[in-house]
Symmetry: D3
Subunit: 254 residues, 6 copies
């Protein structure tokens, strides 16, 4: 099966980190493909950037969805996730969603650890969006400036480990999620230095994408996750306009 | 003061309805100006369209925010609202937010009535986003096809009144919100046929915009609603890119 | 329009503060009138005093409601609010309700700051009563003795500003409400010393009262906010007894 | 021990029903005494009447608290309960509180059944006030006119039994509370006609009052349930004023 | 009446403490009988031990229920409570349930204080199970090793008092529950050193058991707390198997 | 990898159904092994049976955990799940947990459909236990008698499909879970007759077990999911006693 890792940020170095963390856990029949947002910001960290990044994720999916079996929206706040799940027929998984749901099977309450304070409120909205506050022990973030985002996991490794340990000690976290695409792969490195299970969101997302493809659920044809009826559009990107206007139907038997 | 009604849909006829419902309640010193989305869909009714419409609302605000004292995002689900509140310095009010908060002062629990079943889940997300389920008696919508969206309030008037009365009788609604931009102005017409207070969202939004302008709150300079630090962008519309990159600062002392 | 500020405390000096803070934000067509409770305690700060003050607020409204277009119950815990909304035909707004709902439009989560620890539990009940915990970042109060209540905002200004800043830093408050009638007017004075939007409850209440009068909602004739059917009473004040017994109906065409 | 049943309504016939239902379950060492509100309305059924009745309950307790070991506020919505718990040193129990807490030990979810639709919203507020929605399967009420309130349990017996059975069948109630002072004693009569445990609120309240007296908890001296510090009052009833002003302290060693 | 204190732990010394704390509050007509689990662990402090202890509590009740009027499951987390309430006809009360419900009548929010950190998560689950988080100010536990569990209340008295005082000061607890069977009787000893009402769970449970026996509720015959229909079993203890298979029915007219 | 399907019921025919539904979705490297409870009841459907079944599941895991890479507790209410997760070092997945978490990735709200009304309250407790009410659109069950439990999915197929369709139409379910071990495999058969994605709990559980094994999380060594310290036991089964007493440590390097 082909699984698309869609990085809604414009930083290709982060996409590389995601792919590097995804491949070791992928099954033998899985082929990981990846794409970096052609438009947007280097690293989404505000509500506005998440909104813009979500709309761009839809454009990218409109172009690539028919070539893959499932897609992962690979930014921790899951920009555009529910919209994508509505508009496309393949399973679409959010990296934060996969991380949190996987964490639920490893304890009762998870903590989310990240590297930038600006991400806090966006992540809080994300826990809300998935209805998982009852399982969340807290969100903790560093509040330090940092260099290139693709290097932040190396630069801040010791501080992130310390923060995770505080979440375990002070917030009674049963599980720790090391959140944010730039931290992809960090969990494997620091596994022995945090005394509870760690979740690497992109790794969790790959396994969840594989699970959904194997379970092969049907696309809804009624309710709010069915594909919306065709509607005219103005000024949108070609592929997305075609998808919304259902101009793709003749050529694709989805 | 100048208040911008930003219709994130592309249907100018709906903008006209909004302006017509707004002007009678505006104060003598208020000038209502309006804009219709240059891109997008005729009428937002799905998660995907709300996401796209929200991003377009940011583009429009980037172009026009410096010429008005406050802006209203005039689609019931408030697409892009929190992002706009973060990115711009003027008060930005959502039409659904204004309707629900105003309804809170007229009873304990409000019902939301609308004309298309597809809007239900989007409105549900909207009540969630504002943390107001504790005040919501329910959401009810017609489930009938309809003609041009700008005419739907005329076409379905009797059915909408009946639906509102059922919300009062069966859901114990203390207040009824007639929701959706195409219903702008309907509340005034049917006031005597529904035995509880009605809220017209655009009318409520105008009064809330006036209130915020009069109260003149400062823009946050810390926390998650401060204006984000400058960040490079790729491929975004000019005005929005300039706002995010802070290229507008020299010319504007906001 | 005439808006009544009803101070349910017996301290006239606090009424003066309220009026002074209300007038600058009132619209040109608004006439602010005020009344101080003839019975009760100098400053409500316990559950028992709130209950007594709420009953006295009903008596006062029974005497004065027909001469004004809207009334504000001007103590932060909104004593008697829902009862007044049920019993009278004009819009009745609570000062805490107006403050919290207005704050909702300026961020996601507000903090309430006040000057006496005894108020904490009463305010907590008040957030509960309005179903707004999901929007509240916390309640913080000074825990110091103070002199005359009408002077407390001068006496404690620096400490209140410091407390508000802690709410922003430690509780991630997006907005700060300076709560309690004796703090009326303080927000305008300390605006530049707290880095997020401030809400002055009486100012917010005036604008919300004006908004409701302009929107002109009908009084409910069914449901729990309709005027209750006439009922005999024993030993109540004349005007309140008349209102409950509907002896006012012949002379007043409400 | 002496337990005071305080009926905050002015109908002595309801007080008689309460006493008649209380005595059979009281322990051998318990003496039931009762009082009917000297002021107010014949039967509290609205928010305004509850507020007025709560204030009158405080007056009555101020007069009688020193002669009893515990008091029961004997109207289902518990008017004035938390205020009384704060202001007086003896245990004060609410009839609805006692009913709901007792019901919690007889199943997981209770339903509240009553005889007048007007009571619904007041009871809903009451479940809220006690934080017990998670245990409540619903509130159902008759919607019929009725004769003298002290006779309503006889007049409507068959309809109330039918309503209770619907709550069991349709709402999955594990326990049924027959709520409202005028229904005191009904549970014992219809026990065999409803297939789940019934709770008679006044009976539950008597046992809870006895339990608290036997457990002999101390009065708080810190926190929000300590007795408030002395405060001047204006125009209140003598006993209540004395209690608030702490003029009772010389003569009573509470 | 006969009330069974069922200690689901195997430590007879703890049973002795429970009986000693129960007898002084029991009414004159109450006979306290007690039993110690014949199988299991000396002191339940984990999820697994609670599960095992709950199943053993069912076995013990199957053997003894017909000889008593009510039973108390006397470990703070209430192991097996709802199952016992379903399977047997007598009232079955949980010690934590009784403590929390009683505490609700002494203030708005209670804190739970205990002696071992391992108990924290089990107690948290217990508050959840009873739907009482809205009334809980927090759970605090010592994190120290201790000697024989039956002596822990003596060994740690000063530290437990200090912890309770911190709950009052820092968490605004209105009431304190001294939780865990090994602390039975401690509340009476330290009453004067904690400035809010204390609840001793076994004392509360005795009074609640007496209350339920006096109220004499019927056993449900429909719904999920009716006695389940007879079902075959394999390999269970004799008395429990007989109860589930309804082999006890010929000899007992329950 | 070896995955154990642990059926906590004593009906081997249900184990066969589970294995038959599990194998088609298992990966090529997965070996499914299964065990049927040696003690207990043919089909768990009450709180008491779930408690007993949970304790038996611990006994079975104590005997078999060291021979497998992960275990699935294969009854919908997840009896003993959190206890097993605490006591053993391998991943332990609940069938209902896996179903609900998987459903979360296929829509916003799932409905649970089952074949016996008695299961309703147990399933409700199960949604509670996982903190997932915010994602649950409802639980619906047949209320009909049925023949042998292993045949119920054939006997009731049409009625279950109708019930699922009602959940979609009336409860707005985005996803339907066909719950209960006896329904294993049904989802695949009726896929085309229900217009939203279906989840077969055992299939979901197999994929989640594979995911956790691949992600290889460490066992907690602090917090409440670490393995509890050794403790003496009395009268428990040999393997479980050894596990709790840590007598297994010499021979097993877990």
């Amino acid at each position: 099966m082909r699984i698309l890792i869609l990085n809604p940020n414009t930083t290709a170095g982060v996409t590389d980190l995601l792919v590097a963390a995804a491949r070791p856990v992928a099954g033998p029949a899985t082929r990981i493909v990846a794409t970096t947002a052609p438009r947007g910001v280097p690293y989404i960290s505000t509500r506005g950037e998440a909104l813009i990044g979500g709309a761009i994720a839809l454009e990218t999916l409109a172009e690539q969805h028919s070539e893959v079996d499932a897609a992962i929206i690979a930014a921790f706040g899951d920009p555009g996730l529910f919209a994508a799940r509505e508009l496309f027929d393949i399973p679409v998984i959010g990296m934060s969603e996969a991380a949190m749901l996987t964490a639920c099977m490893l304890g009762q309450r998870f903590s989310i650890i990240t590297f930038a304070a600006a991400l806090g409120s966006w992540y809080r909205d994300c826990v809300d969006m998935h209805g998982l506050w009852g399982r969340c022990a807290g969100i903790r973030s560093l509040d330090e400036s940092f260099g290139p985002v693709a290097d932040v996991q190396v630069e801040k490794e010791a501080m992130l480990v310390a923060l995770a340990n505080r979440a375990v000690q002070e917030d009674d976290a049963d599980v720790v999620i090391l959140a944010g695409a730039p931290l992809a792969g960090l969990a494997a490195k620091v596994r022995d230095r945090i005394p509870v299970p760690l979740v690497d969101p992109i790794a969790a997302a790959v396994k969840q994408a594989e699970a959904l493809v194997a379970l092969n659920p049907r696309k809804a044809t009624v309710g709010t996750f069915r594909r919306p009826a065709a509607k005219p559009t103005t000024g949108l990107g070609d592929a997305l306009a075609a998808r919304i206007e259902m101009r793709d139907l003749p050529e694709a038997a989805e």
